[in-house]
């Protein structure tokens, strides 16, 4: 099923890019408003394999995908897979760091808010969760740069240094983009934890646990939070999947040379191999993450069996 979905996505993207008007060869060769030399365009089309029938291009492409060859970039001829291998870890790094921050703070915060539901603390937490959920990342990013980089000058405004060159600077540079992504994720996790804990608190088995005479903390730990975590982790997994393609804005704001920013440039230039390669990578990861979520769910919840 997962493989089938990936195949559909790759096919749809391939067809979309090839069926729409606009000639990439012409686009590549034209400079500003100056039209390209028709001969050069024809030559380039031949070289790029654009003159072959669509089905043949598709079959070539699929054959390449199966052998791990995603083709070469139209723009610089470099293998697409190399670019992806270089940039994907950077994007994943931001997402992972953000997820850790968001879960570490969000679950306890949400649980606390649920226990104090309808109280003052709950109102404050819920309002901040709503507010940070409502503020687009590029707004948060811009404001964060304004405050921490420009006014306070605590952290650099953006950029990237490989970890191998300067670990400290790498982490410093990571902090703002990861923190920005974490803020909205934190809101989602907090709200979800709150709702989930509230729901579990109404369950009969919590009453049973109380009826046994168990003290407060074991009930909270073993019965409430344990059960409440299941939907929270599901949501976290889905959110992370969304983020794989959704860090475009953050990477743009902080000049973080990740995969999503690269995609924007590739789409702009109609660089077919790059676009298809990146989209495929992202959707494979997306589908894979959903699988991981299912597996984690099955581990946490004995009612779901993996074998089915």
């Amino acid at each position: 099923m997962a493989l089938f979905l990936v195949w559909i996505v790759v096919t749809v993207v391939f067809l979309l890019l090839h069926l729409i008007p606009g000639d990439p060869a012409e686009l590549l060769l034209s400079q500003g408003n100056v039209a390209a030399d028709p001969k050069a365009v024809a030559a380039l089309r031949e070289q790029m394999g654009l003159n072959a029938p669509l089905w043949q291009q598709y079959l070539d492409h699929m054959a390449g995908v199966l052998t791990g060859d995603l083709g070469a970039s139209f723009r610089d001829g470099a293998p697409v897979i190399e670019q992806i291998a270089l940039r994907l870890p950077r994007t994943l790094e931001v997402i992972l760091a953000a997820s850790l921050i968001a879960t570490g703070i969000g679950v306890p915060l949400g649980t606390y808010a649920a226990i104090r539901a309808d109280g003052k603390a709950d109102a404050v937490i819920s309002f901040f969760a709503s507010a940070s959920l409502s503020t687009p990342v590029f707004v948060v990013g811009s404001v964060v740069i304004l405050i921490f980089a420009q006014k306070l000058q605590w952290l650099p405004a953006g950029g990237f240094t490989p970890f191998s060159e300067d670990p400290l600077e790498h982490l410093q540079l990571l902090l703002l983009p990861a923190g920005t992504v974490a803020l909205s994720l934190l809101a989602v996790i907090t709200r979800m934890s709150r709702a989930s804990v509230l729901e579990v608190l109404q369950r009969d088995y919590v009453r049973t646990a109380r009826a046994k005479g168990l003290p407060r903390n074991p009930i909270l730990r073993r019965h409430v939070v344990r059960n409440a975590l299941i939907p929270v982790l599901t949501v976290l997994g889905l959110e992370m999947g969304t983020l794989i393609g959704g860090t475009v804005l953050v990477e743009f704001v902080f000049n973080w040379p990740g995969l999503s920013g690269y995609l924007v440039a590739a789409v702009d230039a109609r660089d077919y191999p790059e676009v298809v390669g990146i989209v495929m990578t992202i959707s494979v990861l997306f589908v894979f993450l959903n699988l991981v979520v299912d597996v984690v769910n099955a581990l946490l919840d004995p009612r779901i069996s993996l074998v089915r």
Binding site: A117, L146, A211, G245, L300, D301, P302
Partner: protein, 618 residues
């Protein structure tokens, strides 16, 4: 107006104001959005330009309002289009299932395999930037969301009996969809709608920010933030205004969505946290110091106990006595207060309810008398599961689905005894065997869903008797079970009674026949009050309250040609009759009954009835 409806007013008003402002943009006395004034670029707020001027000297306020117009138009437009298409797909897929489902909902869900921003990016770059490509991109993006929500709701509603009733009536399927199903899936649809508007604004502004959305010079919040970034050091306010406008608008719609959800979903009203989890609130009650109980004291003596929610009395002046070794059945229909009375004995009443009067004196193992109704959380916790324990009705819900049966039984023991490791495990298996679970070593490692209904109830009972309680409260423990399984469980209770002669039991049930099988004494409750009590055989032989008599007569067992039905229905706690609460449905009622509540009468030793006419009943 309910609290959840009132909470809708604030975000609703703000949303209406925002919409009105952007709708009225053409007639408002605003500056020209494209009127440049280069000499005054980056000028601060002034009388002519309330929010200042931007990098081309244009009026920020005017651009803000016109920008909101563009954003809202795109967001609301695509939310509407997506709602219409998605609802149609979801309704068809959810109702007809099979191939239709594959072609509608499942097909739409392929879109969900792509991260949303990525998809919008693709569509916009393919079609070029601009307002309509954005609307199209967002419509495509959100259609599967609606399809999913409506599909799920349709599936849920479709299985309900009133839809089956329509089908069996021969109504045309399309008519059922429009007339019966659509109105019932509207609430989640409305919530989804405001959610999508907010989310579409985020994506629209993000794309505009990247330069892929609204095309300049048309004003847009995303674009304004983009250009303000370049001049952040000169004029930070230029960044603040559109950011505030954007975040504020999205926040308004998100709040609207949240509150709509809680207003439309009645279940959410009951969710109010848990008082017992808050350490300090437990000190609200001040327990009386335990005193020595008299030697012949009963196990439990409830005197005139009342339970109320706010000012509404649900249980009124209930008295009940349980002696060691005695099984008292608490019988009544729904709303009689029998379950609440049982819950109050373990301090497990829902947060909104409290004991408002009377006492429940319990004699502990050490021979002390404690008032269960007045103990604080810590005090009652020490008794719960150890001396006083409870068996619940629905074992499937009352057992934790993610913990093994053995662990759940072990937990009950560990809460009161220092038993660990091998010894604990042995005790757990022994208990499971005792309640008749076959192959207890293996079953201890099973999860609740792996057991049958009867075995789950047995496990529930094992949890309750784990510490040899002196008072066992069983709340409708056999109601959800099939007759042959019910018989097995009743047999188990009888066995437990035999083996632990000192244990008292309160057996809460609505089934008179079960009472006859299991109990020694019976207490009949009606509308929150005790109407009659006495030894089971005597009460069933010769009931002394018209309600008890009518209940017995309405059981279709005697072979009578026609059943005796009690006319009318149980009064609501809001409108309790002033005198005898049964009077409106009673064949014996006179003026006296409607004027005064009857006092307790003793027709025979050990029997009580609350009826003026008890002598005429049978």
């Amino acid at each position: 107006m309910s609290r959840s409806t009132r909470k809708l007013i604030l975000p609703g008003t703000i949303a209406a104001l925002i919409v009105a402002t952007v709708l009225l943009a053409p007639v408002l006395p605003l500056q020209d959005v494209r009127g440049m004034d280069i000499p005054n670029r980056f000028a601060g707020p002034s009388a002519a330009h309330w929010l200042g001027q931007d990098d081309f000297g244009r009026d920020v306020l005017a651009r803000l309002i016109w920008g909101g117009r563009a954003s809202l138009f795109i967001a609301v437009g695509s939310a509407l289009f997506a709602a219409i298409i998605g609802t149609a797909l979801g309704l068809l897929g959810g109702y007809f299932r099979g191939v239709v489902e594959l072609l509608t909902v499942r097909a739409a869900e392929i879109i969900l395999c792509l991260p949303p921003l990525l998809l919008a990016l693709l569509v916009v770059t393919i079609l070029g930037a601009g307002t309509w490509p954005l609307v199209l991109a967002l419509t495509i993006l959100y259609t599967p969301n609606y399809a999913r929500v409506v599909y799920a709701a349709t599936q849920q509603v479709r299985g309900l009996d009133f839809v089956t009733a329509q089908r069996s009536m021969g109504t045309h399927p399309l008519k059922i969809l429009v007339r019966t199903i659509l109105p019932n899936v509207l609430p989640p649809l409305l919530v989804q709608m405001s959610l999508v508007v907010a989310s579409a604004m985020v994506i629209e502004s993000g794309l505009s920010f990247l330069g892929l959305g609204v095309v300049p010079p048309t004003p847009s919040w995303g674009l304004m933030i983009r250009s303000a970034r370049g001049a952040m050091e000169v004029a930070p306010l230029l960044l603040v205004w559109p950011s505030l406008a954007l975040a504020g608008t999205i926040l308004t719609f998100n709040l609207l969505c949240d509150r709509l959800q809680s207003a439309l979903d009645p279940r959410a009203v009951t969710a109010g946290g848990a008082l017992w989890l808050r350490p300090r609130s437990a000190a609200a009650k001040t327990p009386a110091a335990p005193v020595e109980a008299p030697a012949d004291a009963p196990l439990l003596e409830i005197r005139d106990m009342s339970i109320a929610v706010r000012d509404m009395e649900l249980v009124r002046r209930v008295s009940l006595t349980v002696r060691p070794g005695e099984t008292v059945a608490l019988v009544g229909e729904s709303g009689s207060g029998k379950t609440l009375t049982g819950l109050a004995m373990t301090g497990l009443l829902p947060d909104t309810l409290r004991v408002t009067g009377g006492s429940a004196l319990y004699t502990t193992r050490e021979g002390k008398a404690v008032d269960l109704a007045k103990l604080d959380e810590e005090g009652i916790r020490a008794l719960r599961g150890d001396e006083v324990s409870m068996v619940f009705q629905d074992a499937a819900a009352a057992l934790n689905p993610v913990l093994r049966i053995g662990e759940q039984v072990a937990e009950a023991i560990r809460a009161h005894h220092d038993l660990e490791g091998e010894a604990l495990q042995t005790r757990v298996v022994e208990l499971l065997r005792h309640v008749g679970i076959p192959d207890p070593e293996r079953r201890a490692r099973a999860y609740p869903h792996e057991l049958s209904g009867g075995q789950r109830q047995r496990a529930m009972i094992a949890v309750a008797v784990a510490n040899n309680p002196r008072l066992l409260i069983a709340d409708e423990p056999t109601t959800a079970l099939d007759p042959t399984i019910q018989a097995q469980i009743l047999q188990l209770f009888a066995q437990l009674k035999r083996e632990t002669p000192g244990m008292g039991m309160i057996f809460v049930t609505h089934d008179l026949a079960v009472v006859a099988e299991i109990a020694d004494r019976v207490t009949v409750m009606y509308a929150g009050e005790v109407v009659e009590e006495g030894p089971v055989a005597e009460v069933f032989e010769r009931p002394r309250h018209p309600y008890t008599a009518a209940l017995i007569a309405s059981v279709p067992e005697g072979g009578a040609e026609r059943l005796t039905a009690i006319p009318g229905s149980v009064p609501s706690p809001r409108q309790m009759p002033a005198g005898c609460r049964f009077a409106p449905r009673c064949a014996f009622a006179t003026e006296r009954c409607t004027a005064h509540p009857p006092t307790a009468e003793h027709p025979a030793p050990g029997r009580v009835t609350r009826c003026f006419h008890w002598e005429n009943v049978t």
